[in-house]
Symmetry: C2
Subunit: 455 residues, 2 copies
């Protein structure tokens, strides 16, 4: 059943005021779908439907609602009921929600929480933004060295309902230092009397609370992990991060790369929720910088104005080829830079590969340059009123532009990475601006030589 | 310990021929790291080190090696040993590997396998490329209706070692139709005598064998799943897909979008492994199309050649502003199209939102247009020899170019989506080409009017 049909049925029950039936219908839905349904309602109805949900469902639905609606619902519910929901949520979801609230509201919310929970949430909120500490959860099962398999299973049975995952258990010493992990399946297969440390895997891959979430995502992706432990500066276990949260981090980081590669500052929110002023502010800096840089390209034209004015027909012919030359150069450069940036992001290419990358790009450029210049030469010669000399000048400029565009396109991202800058900034917009200048220099220099015009 | 130091130690043991110690050192490493180490060795050494690995480790290391090296290792090992490794691998990893081999080699490999395994692998290889069927695994635990919790736990203990995940158990009727799922933690908490169907969750989110992997990834991401069941046309369970494989699918789909958005056909392999000819072939079609399209832009200049030749100073001034105008227009359009394409990919924006998106982009364009035109006007007036009229013409053209660029940038991807085309194709390169033509039309029209030049 698709969402539109689900919504129609729920709307009918809601409008008719048949609350009991509505509550029944809601129990048949996934929490994500309920949150999506609430999205379509106005505030008053959201509150009404939300209160119909069973307690354990409502906290999870709350975690999937969008920030604005959550904040409004929080206000409508009142502090006490709101706090109960935060108490029901997993710690990572609660922190995620609290982050988005104004500081004053967070303080008020936390004041109502029980002291242990308050201290815990406060501690999470102190980790740097986008760090492992911010996205980790503490709902894992830890076992102390010396625990037997039988004791461990009893412990798991006792605590399982509140844990985000029980697939992996973490074995700690008396100082809470992480010694190793053991899989639930290994416990299930072992004798009750065996000690957990005899079963444990000591090659644990972990991250630190202050590590950037991008590093966490890279590690989880590289090792195909379902969860990763987070340790503090003294190797003590303080949390875990599960792969479902990593999926969100990966999409967030990819969106950031897409934005940077199109000359924008990254945004925090989805497109439709971001305000016009924020969008404009994110886009303006690079547009300004690139616009000013492009005036340099224009000054190349001014410098060679003799070419434009010498023989009228040649001047117009040359100028009319500028858009094609600039666009092709820009596109060639963008192709090389995109593949290099993506390769760097996925760890497939490193700055030390610059020799291999350049050599590959030069050979690609040679192939593309020959084909594109030839097509261009034949097109100008046969399909335009201009003669073979003009066709030759433009096509030769095209050839060299492609070679230079590919070389610049792959080198700048690698250079940025080597200098510990973000390679994603060295994408199409900047490459285009640099290549534009290069292509015009080449075009006018060749034209000046060919037609014996004094520049 | 970082990879370089690990490699140095292993190399020392390898070169000294101290096999026992090397074997010991390897047992301390993760399979992913061992595969990475093998990558740095030549074929002869790869074979030697690979044979030192314990049997259960070697199949997993094999799954993480790169395609070329796997194929060579396969040849070196001989069919019998090779087949034993394939038998040890999870089905999804084995299928993934067999896909990359020449058809003849696959046939030979499968001939050596036991008949049940051969039939199974053949069945997987018949699913369409990039479908759920190709990436699913059959290593899950299923339980039949009527099974008690006690029986289920015994079944899990018996089969757990060969399963990719035991977090979720799948409950089937006698025809293998998927009725529901039950979590391992629920089984752990329930009485031994209870029947599994009393505990099961019936709202199962599943995909079909023929569904595209992109749809699978979207579903797993949306519902934060750790695994998803795959059913055939009659709702019978045939496999599951775990989230660690979904992470790879997400990165693959993102890479495809990056490539399309930079006017390239998607590639199957990592950058450094893709040959020069393939790279050139992937890049040529769009470069050709875009180059030819840009000649149209050039013909606008030819059409307005009166402007270029009328008053020499004005002509050069106007031409020298072309790169800046074209680049700024292209960048503005690319920003709008990138955000729209990304919003579509993540399901945050849909074609029906076109009104909201356009209205938002127009307001953003107005803000950016005013600021950029003003900066540009002042720059030309005060910092160049050209007069206020030229500054006015160029800045006015800049303003309208930005408005049109933003409108085209956000509309084309939405239109593509509505027509069931890939929105990622409507990115920077195409937008730039369209906007270039528009900006030159605007520039020359305004210049013709302003300076009373007959076009």
């Amino acid at each position: 059943m698709d969402f539109e049909r689900i919504k129609a049925k729920l709307d009918a029950l809601l409008d008719a005021g048949r609350k009991a039936e509505l509550r029944g219908a809601l129990t048949m839905l996934n929490e994500v779908d309920i949150a999506e349904y609430l999205q379509t309602l106005d505030n008053e109805k959201v509150l009404m439907v939300f209160r119909l949900l069973p307690k354990d469902t409502s906290a999870e639905v709350f975690a999937y609602m969008d920030d604005d609606q959550r904040t409004q619902l929080m206000e409508a519910l009142g502090d006490e009921e709101a706090m109960r929901i935060i108490d029901e949520m997993f710690v990572d979801d609660a922190v995620d929600f609290l982050e988005e609230l104004p500081a004053g509201v967070v303080k008020r919310m936390l004041a109502g929480a029980d002291p242990a929970r308050r201290e815990l949430l406060n501690q999470f909120l102190r980790y740097p933004e986008n760090s492992a500490g911010r996205i980790m959860t503490i709902e894992y099962v830890d076992l102390h060295v010396g625990t037997t398999v039988g004791q461990a299973m009893a412990e798991i049975r006792r605590t399982a309902p509140d844990k985000e995952t029980i697939n992996t258990l973490y074995i700690l010493d008396s100082r809470r230092v992480l010694l190793g992990t053991v899989g639930l399946r290994q416990l299930l297969l072992a004798d009750d009397g065996k000690r957990v440390e005899e079963l444990m895997n000591q090659q644990v891959i972990s991250v630190r609370t202050t590590d950037d979430q991008e590093l966490v995502a890279d590690t989880v992706r590289k090792y195909d992990l379902l969860s990763i432990p987070v340790v503090d500066g003294e190797d003590r276990l303080v949390g875990i991060i599960t792969v479902d949260d990593i999926v969100d981090v990966i999409e967030e980081e990819n969106t950031e790369d897409f934005e940077k590669m199109a000359a924008m500052l990254p945004s925090d929110d989805t497109y439709l929720k971001t305000g016009v002023l924020t969008l404009a502010r994110n886009r303006l800096p690079w547009l300004l910088i690139l616009m000013i840089s492009a005036t340099f390209t224009g000054s190349i034209i001014t410098h060679f104005e003799d070419v434009l004015q010498s023989a009228a027909a040649i001047g117009v012919a040359i100028v009319s080829c500028i858009p094609m030359l600039m666009d092709t150069g820009g596109n060639c450069g963008a192709q090389a830079s995109t593949l290099t940036i993506r390769g760097l992001a996925l760890g497939e290419v490193a700055p030390r590969d610059i020799g291999r990358v350049l050599w590959k790009e030069l050979r690609v450029a040679l192939l593309l340059g020959v084909v594109l210049s030839l097509v261009n030469f034949l097109r100008i010669w046969f399909l335009t009123p201009y003669d073979r000399d003009v066709a030759f000048v433009v096509s030769l400029a095209m050839f060299f532009t492609i070679i230079i565009a590919k070389a610049i396109g792959c080198s700048l991202p690698l250079a940025a990475k080597a200098l510990h800058l973000d390679p994603a900034l060295m994408a199409s917009p900047i490459i285009t601006t640099v290549v534009d200048a290069a292509s015009l220099m080449i075009l006018f220099t060749i034209a000046t030589q060919m037609f014996h015009i004094g520049a």
